[in-house]
């Protein structure tokens, strides 16, 4: 019997591949949202596996807030080129031209204009009817109830009272014109699963995840990397070199680093298992409001 049993990761992998194929088969125009983070990297690998030896039959889309870490953009461009992905990069042009940014407008306005609005624009522009996201249910309490196929109305909004029952692995892919589905193939993965998978599959990730001496500024207890000179001069002057790494990646002014010695995946996992600090606490936006994630989802982000 042992011969016919799968490990947790292999089972999660098989489930994710099944979900990804289901979307490719049932929707006219799906897209995979690529955030450059570790979860996205795992998701893209799963998509490659799903259609091997063929190519992934849908594009990837990165919503560029124009405030991502430079290393992320570099990584994205190199990796996409090397893999030959069909990669769409979309950003909110009006917001960019109006100079929206976290330092000048605060995290709430910035996130709304450069992330949420940008995402909705991108989805509308290409008329995508399904969008894969790399979110996991264990990331945050309000995610626990999220469907794998999460229904969105014409305005991309998530209505908690109007979600479809989801049983077995039979996913309802019927949508009317303009409506769409967000699909979360990594729903059942935990953070440890993600790291373990990256380790075993040797999936390249942005080097920011590994600890290194980096120039950081302490802003209200968050260690913010000095990534470019859009950071106000007076802040940059307070920069000091510390050995840090990032547990999540986003807009650099909104993502705090943690001091760490972990420069390999094994050490990252060890740190995670021993220091036990939930990864999202280093993402500044979540402090705005206890249920901000829930709020953002209703507005169409995630």
């Amino acid at each position: 019997m042992k011969a016919y049993s799968l490990t947790n990761l292999k089972e999660l992998e098989a489930e994710a591949i099944y979900i990804i194929r289901e979307v490719a088969a049932e929707f006219q125009n799906p897209v995979m949202l690529y955030s450059i983070g570790k979860d996205s990297s795992v998701m893209v690998r799963l998509a490659e596996k799903a259609f091997y030896p063929g190519k992934v039959p849908f594009p990837l889309m990165h919503i560029d807030s124009k405030w991502k870490f430079r290393e992320m953009i570099e990584f994205r461009d190199n990796y996409a080129r090397e893999k030959g992905w069909d990669l769409i990069v979309h950003y909110n042009k009006e917001g960019f031209e109006a100079g929206i940014g976290p330092f000048t407008h605060g995290s709430k306005v910035h996130t709304d204009v450069m992330k949420t609005q940008a995402l909705l624009q991108g989805l509308d522009k290409y008329k995508f009817d399904a969008a894969f996201g790399g979110a996991r249910r264990d990331e945050e309490k309000s995610r626990a109830k999220e469907r794998i196929f999460s229904f969105r109305d014409r305005f991309h909004q998530w209505d908690p009272k109007n979600q479809r029952p989801e049983l077995w692995d039979i996913y309802n892919a019927k949508v009317h014109k303009g409506e769409s589905i967000r699909v979360f193939p990594l729903s059942n993965w935990t953070e440890l699963d993600i790291w373990q998978y990256i380790r075993l599959e040797k999936i390249p990730i942005v080097p920011l995840y590994y600890a290194k001496e980096r120039p950081v500024v302490n802003l209200d207890g968050n260690l913010i990397l000095v990534d470019d000179d859009r950071m106000p001069e007076e802040m940059r002057q307070r920069a000091e070199m510390r050995k840090v790494r990032f547990r999540t990646l986003g807009c650099y002014p909104l993502t705090g680093a943690v001091e760490s010695e972990a420069d390999t995946i094994e050490k990252i996992v060890e740190e995670m298992m021993t220091i036990t600090k939930s990864e999202r606490t280093t993402r500044v936006i979540d402090f705005d409001q206890e249920a901000s994630m829930e709020q953002k989802k209703r507005e169409g982000y995630f």
Partner: protein
């Protein structure tokens, strides 16, 4: 096999990672925290874990949240900041004083808390050194059916909580029924709050016995009982010191060791094609998740619905070709022959076929606010197939609390019932009991696109037992006005052939006596029989007709047609009519059909008749009434009667007729 291709079956268990792991010594994550194990060993062990999905059910305040909170907490997988957030919450809304309120760990849904939004299932994750666990946590509010059914659909095991102070209650039965409906094979009855009953073995034993008595009527193969206190931590993670009489495992120990892999169906190959991969002209692959059975390189397979056969040339995966694949692996296969295959087709072994049918029965759970509508053609999604379906009939509804079945015309939200369905094209299925993957389906509303119902296919009945199966041939018959119940079927069911026994004779000749005794005799012997006589027909159907020769003709014509309808439906008609005119009797015989018409003549003397009906004949004699056969109308003595009876011997006459009917195989037929 002996090819030098790169064949392996598990990319993760390759030798490079095989640090020796001793499964008898489970490693708790705290070992790592204390530096007891190095990280590589930890990771290597972690990657061997398998996955157990379980459901928790209980009624409000049984301690479900406390139990889950403790499992999460005590398995030391809660992150530090979730804990500090928890301490804040406890002070604000908790109920457990300064202690941690474990229940709050699982109750983080702000929208739900503030707006009372219904949440069907919340999924929680934790792991131990041996296993990763996914908990489907279903809230116990009024939407319990929908929620529990959803949570149970992906679970291998269910923990059903009971409060030791309350014992087995209605909700316990309801939860257990839903768990069995969804085919969960392992149930743990967790008897909680043992601290409130003094950790008493008697209380525990009584609850277990009550439960055992109840579940005999359900199909759950594996049931376990654990006494615990979620609040105090007894038998949750560590075995309790307080219940030395209990020798079993704690909840967590049990969850870690229970064997679930054999629940999968490895026997019947069902490979529902999900995606056709055609990257270039050389490669044509069929991707699927193996629903059940094993698919092997070299296997002969049959494609449904085309029925074409071929051989598996290769089982392809990103991590190298495989020798075989098993459920729930997602792979791609290539075939030796070029066969046209598309999504929704199924590969099977030729000697092990699923049902290929348009007509089947299922247990259906209605999930939508909008009730079932028998005139709607719903979408049905079954494996990777989507087609249209009509609900022919609701056979019954089951009350989840009492398990009592009742007849109902349609189902509404949270109703569960047995229904008969007909799809537009055949689907390839197995009964749900035998195969969860190929026995389950969802119905989608064609207008709202909501998932309005979910179903589990029941063992297929023989087609002729199913009601309202409508074939194309049936439709043609209906269009032509031909009945769907054939004469042969009626003959078998009634054990008789529809025929008319027509008794003719003068007024007072004893026709009715013979007819009524004959009817009773036939009825008592099991025949389906109807009797017709002049007064009953004339009192209603023919009330406007008089006794003139013209009206008499019309009267008998109508009676003849009634007999014909009855005989067509397999029923025996016993008729008692004077019918004095030979030509009219001939016309009646023609309407009914000569072969079904059996004429009996009551050969009574005029004297006999007058003695029976003195007033009538006297009236006619005085000229006070006209058209009385034998007086002012001729009565044609029949030449072609089967029998001419002496009315004074009617009990013998009845026997003669019964013998005659038996001999002619009119009744009984066999």
């Amino acid at each position: 096999m002996n090819e030098k291709t790169n064949i392996k079956n598990d990319g993760f268990t390759a030798a490079e990672n095989s640090a020796p792991v001793n499964p008898s010594e489970p490693l708790r994550s705290s070992d790592t925290a204390e530096g007891g194990m190095d990280i590589l060993a930890f990771l290597n062990q972690d990657q061997q874990k398998d996955l157990l999905r379980f459901l928790t059910a209980g009624s409000v305040d049984d301690g479900k949240s406390t139990l889950i909170g403790r499992l999460l907490f005590d398995s030391k997988k809660l992150y530090e900041d979730q804990l500090s957030a928890l301490e804040r919450d406890s002070k604000r809304e908790g109920h457990a004083g300064d202690d941690i309120d474990y229940a709050l760990l699982t109750d983080g849904l702000k929208a739900e808390r503030e707006q009372g939004i219904t949440i069907d299932v919340a999924y929680r994750y934790f792991s131990t050194a041996r296993r990763k666990f996914i908990i489907a946590d279903t809230p116990g509010h009024e939407q319990y059916t929908r929620n529990m059914v959803t949570g149970a659909s992906t679970a291998n095991l269910a923990i059903i909580l009971v409060d030791a102070t309350a014992g087995v209650i209605t909700q316990t039965r309801r939860h257990t029924f839903l768990v069995s409906l969804l085919g969960i094979k392992h149930v743990v009855l967790a008897v909680n709050k043992m601290d409130l009953v003094g950790y008493s073995q008697e209380v525990f034993d009584k609850i277990c016995n009550d439960y055992r008595n109840f579940i005999t009527q359900l199909d759950i193969p594996d049931v376990h009982f654990i006494p615990l206190s979620a609040l105090k931590g007894d038998n949750v993670v560590e075995p309790s010191q307080k219940m030395p009489w209990y020798h079993g495992k704690s909840v967590l120990e049990f969850l870690e060791i229970i064997h679930i892999n054999s629940d999968r169906n490895f026997n019947d190959l069902r490979y529902p094609v999900q995606y056709v991969l055609r990257p270039d002209h050389d490669f044509r692959g069929f991707s699927a998740r193996v629903a059940s059975g094993i698919i092997r390189r070299g296997d002969t397979i049959k494609v449904l619905p085309s029925g074409k056969t071929s051989k598996i040339r290769s089982v392809v995966s990103y991590d190298g070709d495989l020798e075989y694949a098993f459920p729930p692996q997602s792979v791609t296969v290539t075939l030796e022959d070029e066969i046209d295959i598309s999504r929704g087709d199924m590969l099977v072994h030729p000697d092990n076929m699923p049902h290929v049918e348009r007509h089947f029965e299922a247990m259906l759970v209605w999930m939508d606010e909008k009730p079932m509508d028998l005139s709607t053609n719903y979408f049905i999604k079954h494996t990777t197939n989507t087609t249209k379906v009509r609900i022919d009939e609701v056979r019954y509804k089951v009350d989840v609390n009492t398990l009592v079945k009742s007849k109902l015309d349609w189902l509404s939200l949270n109703d569960i019932g047995r229904v008969v369905l007909t799809t537009t094209k055949p689907i390839f299925f197995d009964p749900y009991r035998k195969n969860r993957q190929t026995g389950s389906f969802i119905l989608i509303d064609p207008i709202t696109h909501n998932t309005c119902a979910v179903g589990m296919i029941i063992d297929r009945l023989s087609i002729k037992d199913l009601p309202s199966r409508i074939t194309d041939a049936d439709r043609e018959k209906i269009a032509n006005g031909q009945p769907l119940v054939s004469e042969a079927v009626r003959t078998t069911r009634y054990n008789q052939r529809g025929s008319t026994i027509w008794i003719t004779g003068l007024h007072g000749s004893g026709k009715n006596e013979l007819a009524f005794i004959l009817e009773r005799n036939l009825f008592e012997k099991g025949a389906v029989v109807v009797s017709l006589d002049g007064s009953s027909v004339r009192s209603g159907l023919n009330r406007e007709l008089d006794f003139s020769p013209a009206d008499r003709a019309e009267h008998l014509r109508r009676v003849a047609h009634v007999c014909r309808l009855l005989n067509d439906q397999g029923i025996i008609a016993v008729c008692s009519f004077i019918s004095p005119d030979a030509s009219l009797r001939k016309q009646v015989a023609q309407i009914i059909g000569e072969a079904r018409f059996h004429l009996i003549y009551m050969d009574a003397t005029m004297e006999f008749c007058r003695k029976n009906k003195p007033e009538l004949y006297e009236k006619a004699d005085r000229g006070a009434t006209e058209f009385l056969p034998g007086v002012d109308l001729p009565f044609d003595r029949p030449e072609n009667a089967c029998f001419a009876f002496n009315p004074e011997k009617n009990s013998e006459n009845v026997e003669v007729i019964l013998d005659y009917l038996a001999e002619k195989k009119i009744f009984p037929f066999a």
